[in-house]
Symmetry: C2
Subunit: 391 residues, 2 copies
């Protein structure tokens, strides 16, 4: 971090006190969702998009929750939702959530059969493709099932994870799709995951704009083949404000904004590039409540949340209302984490419950069975995390 | 890695071919367990312990599977099993698996009530304690429920994660337990997790011996208080052979040996310290089968297993029978991993299934719903992974 202001950002406001009697029977560790903050985030994104004339296709791989997808779809600027896996699409379809775009390419017969089966059962589900193999297999399976599958061509922003390179190869694959009557080409997808957490808002803006411009060029060449290609989908929470202003992006695959997480709180605000402002357009809404279960030495306390309760790719932020200094968490194995109390001696006592602002929301959510939903400091509901750990 | 031999270790033998017709309907990613290799590992540990006159209390946090616990308990040198969480103890008790030692200290009323409830329902379950608070709360809850709880005093090997320091404070806590008629002190636990993956077998041996000697001293002082203190439990797969020779360790909390994993394959064999031999006393038995779903550039291939299917703390080992060079896996986000094909061009084609030897077994198992059990290249069963993602 280089921005001074960001270092001074305040601790997230907690909508609940984990040591209140209302939480006494709550097992630790539990994943706790502040529904009020969640709803404010969803409303805030919608208002922003409306102001800019932009649209969202929220990514449900973040939350894997039909309840949250429903809150997102109820907003005026939402055109549908995304998911990452067929198992998610199946779970969403079962819960009546549509339309759904599967944003990871399908290449294997097993996944393609499941996708075609969803389409055959009249679910409004689309998928991306990025290879001749994937196109041919999907076209053959769709033809055999006598259905037409809507597809979106996935473009590689240069990370080489998925997508076809943004050159004549992309146009070639689009041509291949157009030759298949069982397929309907709806557009292109450009998701530059590597940009989302660039600390400098200016870097994110410049690189995102450059990639969208290239994607736009591909979409125009595809239209030159005679395809309508109405959809240009992609982007994410880290570039949402910029992407909303790029007129050719038809909809944004924003995911993390519903929860925010510690990983997003350390980047520069996308809403004020260059101003070194913290990314606080959205509120932290998702916490792991853990308990201080051991304290071999006074300057540390051990909590019952480790690799099996928090994703290892970013540590959580310790939230202790009233603590004067920042408290650092580090992982201590499968079951435990340790919190350094040097900056705030006595801030956490053995047996206390603590709230940990989730470090990276998507893979942390995947570790839990359900959300404990709180409103106004009370536990009001439990929402299942569907299709977790399912292929 | 410094040992030359270890760099030349052969790829693990695969008891199945993920591209065989038998696997065509298997979703990717799936967690695949080679039951033949698993059983050989369990038998091999038992034979080794018998030879040394030592005993095991296998740790079920590794596998969270009543089926595997049952295979372990059927062996002559097994005195019981361990688990890390109350939810695991509950699931094991429901499946008839006993006796169980909970190896993480209980400090919160919620967990203590659940533990006492298990005891009250006549399950043979013990727990570790490491604080006056934990002892007092457990004693009061046990007294209120009119049961007696067997406890083991957890010692801090110096990592400061859990346990009481190995000095007069440990003896003091033992005295506190002895004053409580609702508690029965069974012994001490010393688990030095930080030693398990030291690369040098000599370092592991020296440091483990030093810690066991200190733990033995504490046990003797506790016996001086009039306690029987028959149990000295601890150790793990990385130090199993050494710990088996330390006469005072009554039983070993070995976990990972049932599966082995890529993390253990890079340390020096504990059976031949100083010889730079690879740790191959046990066989790799646990794999994630993933599919090559995208290939934006020829020198890489992207598989459908990322943070949500493999624990991030150690990458898996790519197993491609017949590939001439080693293939390196790296994580590429929540849903994907990338495999570098430069050392073996064309070894994996788009659409192929690949076997990934699990990097770190415990937290990877926790990501999956079940084991796909294979024998002789065929899928023969599915075993639930119980109490995953449950507090």
């Amino acid at each position: 971090m280089s921005g001074g202001d960001r270092n001074e950002r305040s601790a997230p406001r907690l909508g609940f006190d984990p040591n209140d009697a209302a939480f006494a029977a709550l097992p630790t560790p539990s994943l706790v969702l502040d529904a009020d903050a969640l709803e404010r985030n969803i409303a805030r994104m919608d208002a922003f998009l409306e102001q800019r004339g932009a649209w969202a296709r929220p990514h449900t791989k973040t939350h894997k929750s039909p309840e949250i997808a429903r809150l997102q779809l109820a907003r005026s600027r939402t055109v549908g939702v995304c998911c990452a896996r067929i198992a998610e699409a199946e779970a969403l379809a079962d819960a009546g959530i549509e339309p759904v775009l599967v944003t990871s390419p399908l290449s294997t017969p097993e996944k393609i059969l499941r996708h075609v089966d969803l389409v055959a059962r009249a679910h409004r589900v689309q998928t991306v493709v990025d290879s001749a193999l994937g196109i041919d297999r999907l076209a053959e399976a769709a033809a055999a099932a006598e259905v037409r599958c809507e597809v979106v061509l996935d473009l590689d922003p240069g990370f080489h994870r998925t997508g076809v390179p943004m050159d004549e190869r992309a146009v070639g694959l689009a041509g291949r799709i157009l030759e298949r009557p069982a397929l309907s080409l709806r557009g292109v997808q450009m998701y530059a995951g590597t940009l989302m957490h660039l600390e400098s808002a200016r870097d994110r803006a410049e690189r995102s704009r450059e990639l969208w411009t290239r994607a736009q060029g591909i979409a125009e060449q595809i239209r030159g083949l005679g395809a309508e290609c109405p959809v240009l989908t992609g982007g994410g929470t880290g570039t949402f404000d910029l992407d909303a202003e790029i007129a050719i992006a038809t909809d944004l695959q924003v995911g993390s904004y519903v929860f925010m997480d510690a990983q997003y709180r350390v980047i520069e605000s996308p809403s004020s590039p260059g101003a070194s402002a913290p990314f606080d357009f959205f509120e932290p809404a998702l916490f792991v409540v853990a308990a201080a279960v051991s304290q071999p030495v006074p300057e540390l306390v051990t909590v019952d949340a480790g690799f099996k309760a928090l994703s290892l790719d970013h540590p959580p932020e310790v939230v202790v209302p009233g603590a004067s200094g920042p408290l650092r968490f580090h992982f201590a194995g499968d079951e435990h984490g340790m919190i350094d109390l040097k900056a705030a001696p006595g801030a956490i006592a053995l047996g206390d419950r603590v709230a940990l602002l989730v470090g990276h929301c998507d893979p942390t959510v995947n570790l839990h069975r359900s959300y404990v939903v709180v409103r106004g400091g009370e536990i009001v509901d439990e929402w299942e995390i569907v299709a977790r750990g399912v292929a």
